[in-house]
Amino acid sequence: MSFPEGDDARRTADAVARRSYGKLVAFLAARTRDVAAAEDALAEAFASALVDWPAHGCPKNPEGWLLTVARRKLIDSVRRRQTGEAASTQLQILAEGLEDAAAQAERDMQIPDKRLALLFACAHPAIEAGIRAPLMLQVVLGLDGETIASAFLVSPAAMRKRLSRAKEKIQQAGIPFSIPEREELPHRLDTVLDAIYAAFAEGWTDASGTDTIRRNLTDEALFLARLVVELLPQEAEALGLLAMMLHAEARRSARRNADGDYVPFADQDPTLWNAAMIDEAESVLYRASALGTIGRYQLEAALQSAHVHRRRTGHNNWAEVVQFYDALAALTDSPVVAINRALAIAELHGPQAAAAAMNEIAADDRLTEYQPYWAARAELLSKTGAHDEARQAYEMAIGLEREPTVRAFLQKRLAALPTWTSR
């Protein structure tokens, strides 16, 4: 085993893992719905590849090679774990389906892509909402439990337990590996898109850009969104989600200056935005709008587009922005939308009107610990001249923030408040 070749084998294995992990899991688990067993078998196959490939050279069809080995491991493990009738039925299912399909896959050099079905299984309404995004990241992209736990701020032990419970549910409750029927599709697709967005949002919170786990998470979410768009090209909301995420991602590096300080959207330098990504976002959004069904993610993408347009051209489009927020507020009961709507109203009708809009949602219990609410409230109150209240809101926002750069930014804002009204 020479090193260069070993490196080559590892690189090939890494590339296949990145490209095909979900495809292989989806394929292996499609019949038995035993995701955990499919993952274990695939992990063993990857381990074998790292021993075999450096010695014998990388196979022409690495996916097919992995599939053949994983299938054998899967059958072995069923045989080991179970005896009697249950085992023989399951073995039969495995042997029949996998044998034919794998043979065909190896012949065609192509494995049928059941990843979409797998995504629908992971985001099935019977799976607890909070675990859908982690489950997708693990099962479709092969992220390990520790990485996911850190990104979602959950203890690794708890995350592992929740993931394995969800996988067991898929099998025990008979959650189907299939793409829902036409009439069910929009609703079921929503849960898939929501989970992808949840993964993206977790990644997006890394304003200092120093956390590679988080940064990678936005890449993974973009990968999943692109996958859904590729497999369901006629779904406007999937396109909307992709457009929205591309817009946000395009501004990632503009969120901090050379000193690493946080820069809010209104102060960012538009020339630092990724123009190619914005162009792609715009063309994806255009494709979505041509399909003629409006939805939450398309509206969010349209808002991003409007904000970008305003900053680039200086054209005042706050009236349009408020309209988009009105439409969004009618669709969702999200406090986040209400907060952003209030901020847009401040630009259009002044801070007094916005503070009134903000008071309407102040009673929402979900907001007590919601940092963006306090940050927005503080901004508005400081503009209306209610400096004492603004000060309190800033303190809440600072106390609830977990990014040191954003915390420092808010502290600067707080310090800039006139002190003559203070006690």
Partner: protein
């Protein structure tokens, strides 16, 4: 459920900060404590004087041993704590991540084992 957030920090870090940074740091801790109180989670908190002020006592085989300094001589020492009442571990971790010490040290989250 009660959780103790133990703040492990590099003690020499504080003296290396400029006065403005120290002021900003102290204000961040104050704001964090206020947020805990307003959310109804706060039970208690204090900072601890540097570990050079620590003394350890041990009684073994009838002999009392008293030593200067902290129990574990590590770069990071416990600099303070927050005792909180959170719904579950997820909520406690979320509060731990907001603690300023999580950005310049390590916050250890320990569930309290209450006496009956």
């Amino acid at each position: 459920m009660q959780y103790l957030l133990l703040l492990h920090v590099n003690e020499s870090g504080w003296n290396q900060l400029t006065p403005e940074q120290q002021q900003q740091g102290a204000a961040a801790y104050l704001a964090y404590g206020e947020a805990l109180k307003k959310a109804g989670v706060f039970l208690g908190s204090n900072r601890l004087k540097p570990s050079a002020n620590a003394t350890t006592v041990r009684v073994a085989n009838g002999k009392t041993q008293v030593l200067d300094g902290p129990y574990a001589d590590t770069k990071e020492q416990i600099g303070g704590y927050f005792l909180i009442d959170a719904a579950d571990l997820d909520a406690a971790l979320s509060w731990a991540a907001r603690c300023p010490a999580a950005s310049h040290g390590v916050v250890e989250v320990r569930p309290v084992w209450q006496m009956q």
